[in-house]
């Protein structure tokens, strides 16, 4: 609640109390990130068929459910605290999401060895986004320019490179 009256400083509470709350909130933002990563990991494990066939299906549901709950809850929490997120927090979050999607795509590469054209396009888009997220940690290290067409810096450049210059387009799809 905003203060509306003039006041002498000695009538106020020590500002360190509010700053301690601020630090705790910043700590919460940082703590949420590994939890989001862990949530993703649990969902991936819980839905990874070659792994889950060895266990009772209930375990698969439990692991996936717990992961989804953790992921959704922490994402909502982060969204509520977004006002207090600093640039460094945003970069770490982009890196976490990027790393998670790269792991997911690595698993997908083994789980879906012969993707359809649609699957291939989706994988490429997700991979480009994930690479951009990882690159956000190192923004400024790469700049790309296609004269009169595109000018991108940092993460956006990585997205453009991965998306437009797909190095391993499938022969079948090219035909």
């Amino acid at each position: 609640m905003p203060r509306k009256k003039p006041i002498i400083p000695s009538q106020l509470r020590p500002v360190s109390l509010a700053l301690a709350k601020l630090e705790l909130t910043k700590g919460h933002i940082l703590a949420s990130m590994p939890c989001i990563f862990f949530g993703f990991l649990l969902i991936t494990i819980g839905t990874f068929k070659p792994f889950t066939v060895h266990f009772h299906p209930v375990w698969s549901w439990l692991i996936t459910g717990f992961g989804a709950l953790l992921l959704v809850r922490e994402t909502i929490e982060l969204f509520q605290l977004r006002e207090l997120m600093q640039k460094s927090h945003e970069k770490i979050l982009a890196f976490v999401f990027g790393a998670v999607f790269i792991v997911v795509l690595l698993i997908a590469a083994f789980a879906v060895p012969n993707p359809t054209a649609f699957q291939y396009t989706v994988f490429r888009i997700v991979l480009a986004l994930a690479a951009a997220g990882v690159a956000a940690m190192f923004s400024g290290f790469l700049e790309m320019e296609i004269p009169k067409v595109l000018r991108a810096g940092g993460a956006l450049a990585v997205f453009a490179v991965v998306y437009f210059y797909a190095p391993a387009a499938l022969e079948k799809l090219q035909q």
Binding site: M1, P2, R3, K4, K5, P6, I7, I8, P9, S10, Q11, L12, R13, P14, V15, S16, L17, A18, L19, A20, K21, L22, E23, L24, T25, K26, G27, H28, L30, A31, S32, P34, C35, L69, L70, R73, E74, E77, L81, E83, L84, Q86
Partner: protein
């Protein structure tokens, strides 16, 4: 209901922030306000970053921005909210209860500086209780 899910996050958040909180409390002690220069120095960041951080904390309701008047024509320093800048302020209203009831001071942005205070509650000091009583 979800507390079993949140306690590891809370525990981790406390573990992350504990050393910083302790360092802040040791550095600030009983101080009732903080300005951007001090916050920048405490965190090793530049003034713009410090201001952005404190403004964000004010936006979420942890801190409140006020203007500190340190002029020699007042019996002591006092803080005014932004809405009251450039308006005559009775010293009695600011908490100087032993002053003439009609004594006023106009606080302009040029004669004051922005600082950030705890947005909640007041210290339960004798002065506060006396101010409430009057």
């Amino acid at each position: 209901m979800l507390s079993w899910l949140t306690w590891p996050v809370d525990w981790l958040a406390r573990k992350i922030s504990e050393p910083r909180v302790r360092r802040l409390q040791a550095a600030l002690g009983d101080e009732r306000y903080i300005d951007t220069d001090r916050w920048a120095k405490l965190n090793g960041i530049n003034k713009q970053q410090a201001e952005a951080e404190l403004e964000a904390a004010a936006k979420v309701g942890l801190l409140a921005r006020m203007y500190l008047y340190e002029g020699s024509d007042a019996p002591g320093d006092f803080l005014v909210p932004e809405e009251l800048l450039n308006t005559p302020i009775k010293l009695v209203d600011a908490g100087f209860i032993d002053q003439d009831e009609d004594a006023t001071i106009s606080v302009s942005p040029l004669r004051s500086r922005p600082v950030y205070v705890d947005a909640e509650g007041q210290a339960e000091t004798e002065a506060t209780q006396l101010a409430y009583a009057t």
